[in-house]
């Protein structure tokens, strides 16, 4: 890839051949407003918000237009500004004005773009307002779909296709009636959706949003505890509860992708049935006991059953350090190599 130099609004920036104008801008920390672009996906060029003027004559969309040596790009040309602002106004005229209670308030791409193109309060009533009234799809336990907030950027469709290759959803119908839907517009839960939530995390508005979401106060990097793939995650913590899981985009294993269990299967951590105290069998019943009592009993019994009378089953679920100590305990303290685990199951 050959390096090239292009000019955006008078600023010369380095880029690589093969990049789009938008990629070059983003690589240099420049914001060009856009709604349907996502770095993980092929550019679609549908929202038309990223329009720029090239070499003072051609209107083009920066998400698809490749850079060329010496190219002069304007993002503030009057025609560009007008097309872009009108486009955003059209979207806003068809979008609910419920920002304050919206899941994505403050983190919404439509808000960001609207502010950037300079929407004034008077602009909000310039166009005829009409917001879709389609029922919310709440059939999935983990996320819900609000068609009224959908801007038809298609990021969810492309995610389900390009990344997940599941194709549970697609653009259905045509024209103004277009929407994102499943076969026959059935509830998402009746489709082949695998609830991975990859579309939800990429949705620029709250058309797709997690259900019962609680904002975390902090995040902790860790590794998913389900299968052997070992996806990087960020655990969202609020108080002493885990309130969410995000994919860790920096992790080379998953690059941020997660499956349904990894993303949504964390509620067991806070589950009321968690064991919170040791239990000891007394008169045939397991009853709560203090640690000392339980540990003393174990130490006593294990001391009686050293060597071939003892066996340990470690676990593929616990950490290396846990496993190391269990085998060390079995071998060094109990004097036997009879330690195994469910590697074979």
């Amino acid at each position: 890839m050959n390096p090239v130099t292009i000019t955006i609004d008078g600023l010369a920036i380095p880029a690589q051949e093969g990049m789009t104008i938008l990629q070059a801008a983003q690589a240099n920390g420049l914001y060009i407003p856009n709604l349907c672009n996502h770095p993980d996906l092929d550019p679609a060029g549908l929202c038309r918000v990223c329009v720029v003027k090239i070499d003072d004559w051609k209107i083009a969309i920066s998400c698809k237009q490749p850079v060329k040596e010496g190219m002069v790009v304007s993002t503030e040309d009057p025609e560009v500004q007008r097309v872009r602002k009108n486009t955003v106004e059209l979207l806003v005229a068809n979008h609910p004005m419920t920002c304050l209670t919206c899941e994505r308030d403050g983190n919404c791409e439509l808000q960001r773009v609207a502010r950037y193109v300079g929407l004034e309060p008077t602009d909000l009533n310039r166009y005829r307002r009409s917001v879709r009234s389609l029922p919310m799809d709440r059939s999935n336990p983990f996320f819900e779909i609000d068609h009224a907030k959908c801007i038809l950027c298609g990021i969810c469709v492309r995610t389900c296709d390009e990344i997940q290759n599941i194709n549970a959803i697609d653009f259905v119908k045509r024209g103004v009636a277009s929407l994102i839907g499943t076969m026959g517009n059935k509830p998402i839960a009746e489709s082949r959706c695998e609830s991975c939530g990859e579309c939800v995390v990429r949705c620029p508005t709250a058309a797709l949003s997690p259900r019962h979401r609680v904002q975390p106060m902090r995040e902790v990097k860790s590794i998913c505890s389900y299968c052997g793939v070992g996806c990087g995650i960020r655990l969202g913590v609020r108080g002493d509860q885990i309130v969410g899981v995000q994919g860790d985009r920096e992790n080379p294993v998953n690059g941020g992708s997660l499956c349904v269990k990894g993303r949504f299967g964390y509620h067991f951590i806070n589950h009321p049935e968690r064991l919170q105290k040791p239990l000891v069998r007394k008169d045939g019943e397991l009853v709560e006991a203090e640690w000392d009592e339980a540990l003393d009993l174990i130490a006593e019994k294990f001391s009686q059953h050293k060597g071939e009378q003892f066996a340990a089953l470690a676990s593929a679920r616990i950490t290396n350090e846990d496993n190391y100590l269990i085998q060390k305990f079995t071998r060094a303290v109990m004097g036997t190599n009879t330690i195994d685990h469910c590697a074979r199951l």
């Binding site: 329009v51 490749p66 310039r126």
Partner: protein
């Protein structure tokens, strides 16, 4: 003879077919175009057959080919173009041209033709001056036309390839297979100045050259017969009337660009065209004119029909190819490679309109210079229009480029009927515009129409009289584009919706002062921001009506008045007390019982019930003409 095994077989084949057809002294050709069929032409056809059989002279075409002589026979032809006057019957070889023929007229026609050597006067076309025209050539509708593509539509049986052979069919293909290289063919097409007849007018030769040069295999030749413009049926008539000319043109194109396969994309709304094409392809295959080793030479080309499934946007080339691939017909987003390089199944694809291909055999046979001599410098050849609306003679016409709108409307079309006044002519369908009387002398060519704010388009030409509301027309087209927008890009999906909402409001008398500026601004943004041609031109009907009929918008917005008295929310019907004779016709016809009045008493319309359907005005006998339509709306009297 039942196959063309070398190009040299074509000459003898033509002579053989001409000889066979020549054995029939008189031939009654019944128009079997969709319009005439709707008018009952098949009953006429059957009656002709029945009566000729009774006379024992109805000889089957096959027997002619076996050498039998015949006094008379009956055949079907494609559309003659003059659908309004259908069903049409033409008598060969005299060319006698009968209009509005009913089955009951058949005995008279037979008697006049076979027994009396005369004509049935009452069925001949009646000129405005009261005289009668015997042949098509005498009819003003026809005699100002110059027919190339439509020439054979009304004279040959589109379901018999031998009829096509008889009129020099496939001579052009034989010629190029024997004597011309693909590049030489492309040079002829380029030299002819032929521009794509789909609407945009891209030079055909350049497109062919691009596809010829493109790398990749196999290549495809695609015929765009997705004639989606409302008010246009040129392609339909060509496909129904002379399908083999299109097929021969495509085969020549395939040879020139090196294509192995071809598709004809036909609207599903055109079932007859599909049937005729199927038969034509079947026969072409039988005669070795499609398939492997066409005419025995090293050239293979297979042709398939694809039936569109009802989406206007599929007229756009990339949407059309995606549709054939079984996808949603959403135009590809630029920057993208040309269809000639990356088209159907991502292979080089030549895509032209039905008429573009239909011109090709004639251009090859008669030469580039002949074609270039017709029309204007920049737009050579003829243009085919579907002339409809408020026009005396409506139908399909073919005229040399450069002819003026006035000539078409008044000389060919016979002007506005019922003493009406011309208000506007709409060309180019939803992507085109409405031109006013002041532009009637505009010559018809790609560039002049463009300059006037409209486009040539594929050939729809709708004439509008003074009873047409131009705001309503703009609303009508925006309704169409809104429904037909593929919906993928924001400016087109929501921009057409917004334009439509504003226009609807204006038609309802809810227009705002700022709306005119808003329409301008939004129209330009939809033009600048949309992905494809459909979106980019969607606002043209708004822009041209704003440009030429701004006063009508202003009347709607500021006076709440619809000058043409079309917009229901701005009109009222009332009964003139002076004129009403109390005949009760209106009251009985009123679907909502809004009219009261005793027999022989003056009738009154209750404005609170009236739905402005206009039936009362329709029903009121002309001698009274008591019902009148007024705008703005009558202020309702509170009872």
């Amino acid at each position: 003879m039942n196959a063309i095994n070398t190009p040299a077989d074509l000459g003898p084949m033509r002579d053989y077919c001409q000889a066979a057809l020549g054995r029939q002294k008189v031939r009654f050709l019944v128009c079997a175009g969709t319009g005439c069929i709707a008018g009952g032409s098949m009953a006429v056809y059957q009656e002709l057959q029945r009566l000729l059989s009774e006379r024992d002279i109805n000889v089957d075409v096959e027997l002619l080919y076996e050498g039998k002589e015949s006094d008379a026979g009956v055949g079907t032809s494609g559309c003659h173009g003059f659908c309004q006057m259908g069903p049409l019957v033409r008598v060969e070889p005299t060319g006698t041209f009968y209009t509005r023929v009913k089955a009951a007229d058949v005995p008279d026609i037979i008697t006049a033709t076979l027994d009396e050597n005369s004509e049935v006067e009452r069925l001949l076309f009646k000129n405005p001056d009261g005289s009668r025209s015997v042949t098509e050539h005498d009819v003003p509708f026809y005699n100002r036309q110059q027919r190339i593509v439509l020439d054979k539509c009304g004279t040959i049986n589109p379901e018999d390839i031998r009829d096509y052979f008889a009129v020099d069919g496939y001579q052009a293909l034989a010629e190029i297979l024997q004597h011309l290289s693909p590049m030489e063919v492309i040079d002829i097409v380029t030299a002819s100045g032929l521009r794509g007849r789909g609407g945009a007018g891209f030079p055909a030769g350049r497109k062919w050259l691009g596809c010829h040069k493109a790398g990749g295999s196999p290549k495809y030749v695609v015929c765009n017969g997705d004639e989606g413009d409302p008010g246009a049926f040129m392609d339909r008539s060509v496909l129904e009337g002379n399908p083999l000319a299109v097929i021969e043109g495509m085969t020549i194109a395939a040879y020139s660009v090196g294509a192995r396969y071809g598709y004809i994309y036909v609207r599903a709304e055109y079932p007859l065209a599909v049937v005729r094409l199927q038969k034509a392809i079947e026969q072409a295959k039988q005669y070795r004119l499609l398939g492997e080793n066409i005419m025995g030479v090293d050239f293979d080309f297979d042709l398939y029909i694809f039936q569109g499934a009802g989406a206007f946007v599929c007229g756009e080339s990339t949407a059309l190819t995606l549709s054939i691939e079984g996808k949603r017909g959403m135009p590809r987003v630029a920057p993208r490679p040309r269809t000639t390089e990356v088209g159907l199944w991502d292979k080089p694809t030549l895509l032209n309109n039905v008429k573009t291909y239909a011109f090709i055999p004639d251009i090859i046979r008669r030469g580039a210079d002949w074609f270039k001599s017709i029309g204007t410098e920049s737009s050579s050849g003829t243009a085919v229009f579907a002339l409809t609306g408020h026009i005396a003679n409506s139908g399909l016409i073919e005229v040399p480029m450069g002819i003026t709108l006035r000539e078409i409307i008044y000389d060919i079309g016979g002007g506005i009927p019922h003493g009406g006044t011309f208000k506007a002519v709409q060309t180019g369908g939803p992507s085109g515009g409405c031109l006013p009387a002041s532009l009637l002398d505009t010559p018809i060519d790609y560039d002049s129409l463009d300059e006037a704010g409209s486009i040539m388009g594929s050939g729809g030409m709708v004439i509008m009289d003074e009873n047409t509301c131009m705001v309503d027309v703009a609303r009508y087209f925006l309704q169409f584009t809104e429904e037909e927008s593929c919906g993928q890009c924001v400016p087109c999906r929501l921009g057409t919706k917004q334009l439509l909402e504003i226009l609807k409001d204006i038609c309802k008398g809810k227009g705002r002062k700022a709306d005119l500026d808003l329409l301008y601004e939004l129209s330009h943004s939809v033009h600048g921001g949309s992905v494809c041609g459909l979106g980019q031109t969607a606002a043209n009907p708004v822009l041209t009506t704003l440009r030429y009929f701004k006063d009508e918008y202003e009347a709607h917005i500021f006076e709440k008045r619809c000058p043409a008295k079309v917009c229901k929310d701005l009109i009222s019907f009332r009964i003139d007390e002076e004129k009403c004779a109390g005949c009760t016709l209106c009251a009985r016809a009123c679907p909502v019982s809004a009219i009261t009045g005793e027999k022989k008493q003056v009738h009154v319309i209750d404005q609170s019930i009236c739905i402005q359907c206009g039936v009362c005005k329709e029903k009121c006998p002309t001698k009274f003409s008591a019902v009148e339509c007024v705008s703005p709306k009558l202020v309702m009297e509170v009872a």
